[in-house]
């Protein structure tokens, strides 16, 4: 006799690994290595700040990519992609009109409720500005709901600065409203024109005019940056519960299965990539 199968499992989502197709509307180089992509999905992405998507090209592959725009009602998705691997290299050769695959949004992201009414401090290094923009945009859009916004953004040299015009527009908005403060730094000017400061993102922290009790921090940058920024923030009297960190791992599935993004027992793609720091401070693999 032939075997009868078990009852169908309601947990089965046949489309779990299928991308939705999005069309590229705009590709703009931001630096020698990074390009800005604006793509249009069939429906709104419905994401929170700090979430990520699995971006793919059929026949080439799939990779986790940070969402760079704030939540939006239309069908647009903005990303900044560094030419750093197989998929991203091919992506850099694409033009408007071509299609990319999108799965997601995935992960926890930032919750604006944690930031309302607070003095918000965003500390970013290098590519960290890409996901952080998804938090900065909604804050700027409803600035009256926040006490203030301070952005400390560093990169290696003026040539590597991302969102150049937009960051200066934030700066001008700050001068108009008095609620936004932008500190732009480079490690070295490398003899290029530079209208900001020279130094590491940790430098301004000690003298920053903030009320530690009223401050909430969002932090995103290369692994080496976190330790030193956290030391400075702790010295200013901030507790780990006031700090949100956005961590990078190389997810292969986005849905808590492939194991690649695990930080000790935590699945970065599910519980992260944004964590309230006190919830992962004890995890040795978080920032090493």
């Amino acid at each position: 006799m032939s075997a009868t199968p078990h009852a169908s499992d309601p947990a089965i989502d046949p489309a779990l690994y299928l991308p939705r197709m999005a069309r590229i509307l705009e590709v703009t180089p931001l630096t020698a290595r990074e390009k800005y992509f604006k793509v249009e999905l069939p429906e709104p992405l419905g994401h929170r700040p700090g979430q990520f998507v699995m971006l793919s090209l059929l026949g080439v592959g799939e990779a986790p990519i940070s969402i760079s725009c704030g939540p939006r009602a239309d069908n647009m998705l903005e990303m900044v992609i560094r030419d750093a691997g197989s998929l991203t290299h091919v992506l850099h050769g694409l033009k408007p009109g071509q299609q990319v695959g999108v799965r997601g949004p995935f992960g926890s992201g930032f919750n604006l409720d944690d930031f309302y009414g607070k003095q918000v401090l965003c500390v970013v290094g290098g590519l960290g500005l890409v996901p952080m923009r998804s938090l900065i945009q909604p804050i700027l859009a409803q600035l009256d709901r926040f006490a203030s916004l301070t952005i400390i953004s560093g990169c290696r040299s003026p040539a590597e600065e991302l969102y150049r015009d937009e960051v200066r527009a934030w700066e001008r908005l700050g001068q108009e409203t008095g609620k936004v403060r932008v500190i732009r730094l480079v490690d070295r000017t490398q003899n290029l024109p530079w209208d900001g400061q020279v130094g590491l993102v940790t430098a301004p922290l000690s003298s920053l005019p903030i009320d530690p009790a009223q401050t909430v921090v969002a932090l995103c940058g290369p692994p080496v940056m976190y330790k030193f920024v956290l030391l400075e923030l702790t010295a200013r009297g901030l507790s780990h519960a006031q700090i949100f960190v956005d961590l990078e791992r190389r997810m292969k599935c986005g849905v808590g299965k492939c194991g690649h993004c695990q930080i000790n027992h935590v699945y970065c793609c599910q519980e992260g990539p944004v964590f309230r720091f006190d919830q992962i401070a004890h995890l040795p693999e978080a920032l090493q």
């Binding site: 690994y17 592959g61 292969k252 492939c258 693999e285």
Partner: protein, 350 residues
């Protein structure tokens, strides 16, 4: 549910009979000392007495080394056609031992959590499990009793217990029931008596035992992040990943795309086994590796089995005690010894 007490010869004939209209996997000799779960043919030797854990656990039939996730066909300016590949072919895994039955249970838990994995779960719903109890340890490597796998039967559709020249067949599910319909097996009138006779034959102690209660092990391991045991236990490690790949509860994977030579507009996305002992597993774009040395990777593997997943799913252990990783490590690195070393180190330093 019903139970039958059947002569072994009749059970053998029944397995063959099932194999005529179903794909039935049963452990068969492979090479000099190994066994593999292979499809039963007319000439296949069906025997329940001599067994060594198969090279790969039977659960890998539900998560093969390489499997397509979907096929695609680009259609110019229009959206491409995307077809998920879900394997609905029915299969029976027979002769599954309690350790591997537990392994499949744990794989079910992991694959059902949150976003259910459609590929695993589709195969799983089309799979019937005929399990077979162990009354003697299969060899010196197993430690199933120490991790609570011995006697595991929860997810068996049919559970078999050998007693001399007979086998007790306990029916546990509807799909299991369908497999014995029409066989006219003699009903077992006193299941409890047969079971207690079998229990009397079970080896005591059964296989290797840890130096601490299983319930204490997650906390002990959690306290041993810096223990010298990790370094000591990887001095001989090749980072070859064999321990991951033969594990009944390892399910990590990598994903890649490939297009067809015959039509570059069509192709598929495929996933393949991956393992946290392999050097590049925790590397991120740009090259930073969050577990750059074998000790860090070994620690992660052991903690997944005895702490992380154990606590996440509230299971006694995510290690099934099958012993495959230690048995197949060419330099005899054995997770059982690592755990015992950690227990000893914790005791010595408390």
């Amino acid at each position: 549910m019903s139970a039958f007490f059947v002569h072994k010869e009749a059970v053998t004939q029944w397995i063959r009979h099932l194999a005529r209209s179903n794909t039935v996997y049963f452990p068969q000799r492979a090479g000099q000392s190994g066994f593999r779960f292979k499809p039963v043919k007319e000439t296949t030797e069906i025997q329940f007495d001599r067994y060594q854990p198969t090279l790969a656990p039977p659960g890998k039939k539900l998560a093969p080394a390489e499997e397509p996730l979907f096929r695609y066909r680009k259609q110019g300016d229009a959206a491409p056609e995307l077809v998920p590949i879900l394997d609905q072919s029915p299969r029976i895994l027979a002769g599954v031992r309690p350790c591997d039955l537990k392994g499949i249970h744990l794989m079910d838990r992991a694959n059902r959590e949150g976003h259910g994995d459609p590929h695993y779960l589709t195969r799983r719903t089309h799979t019937i499990l005929i399990a077979h109890d162990c009354l003697q340890p299969c060899d010196d490597s197993c430690f199933c009793d120490a991790v609570g796998s011995l006697g595991w039967r929860d997810n068996a559709d049919l559970f078999l217990t050998s007693l001399e020249d007979h086998i007790l067949i306990e029916v546990r599910t509807g799909p299991g029931e369908t497999l014995i319909q029409g066989m006219n097996f003699p009903v077992c009138t006193d299941v409890a008596a047969v079971k207690s006779r079998a229990e009397a034959q079970r080896a005591q102690p059964f296989g290797r035992q840890f130096h601490a209660d299983l319930a204490r092990i997650p906390a002990i391991i959690a306290s041993q992040w810096q223990a010298p045991v990790w370094e000591k236990q990887v001095e001989r490690c090749f980072s070859c990943g064999s321990c991951n790949l033969v594990c009944p509860t390892c399910y990590c994977f990598d994903v890649h795309d490939d297009f067809d030579l015959t039509d570059p507009n069509a192709g598929q996305r495929t996933r393949t086994w991956d393992g946290c002992m392999l050097p590049q597993f925790a590397e991120v774009a740009g090259g930073h590796n969050f577990r750059p040395n074998p000790a860090a990777r070994q620690r992660h593997r052991v903690k997944r089995k005895f702490e992380y997943l154990t606590e996440r799913f509230a299971e006694g252990s995510f290690c099934t005690g099958c012993g495959r990783c230690g048995r197949q490590c060419t330099t005899d690195i054995d997770i059982f010894n690592i755990v015992n070393d950690l227990i000893d180190h914790a005791e010595a330093n408390s």
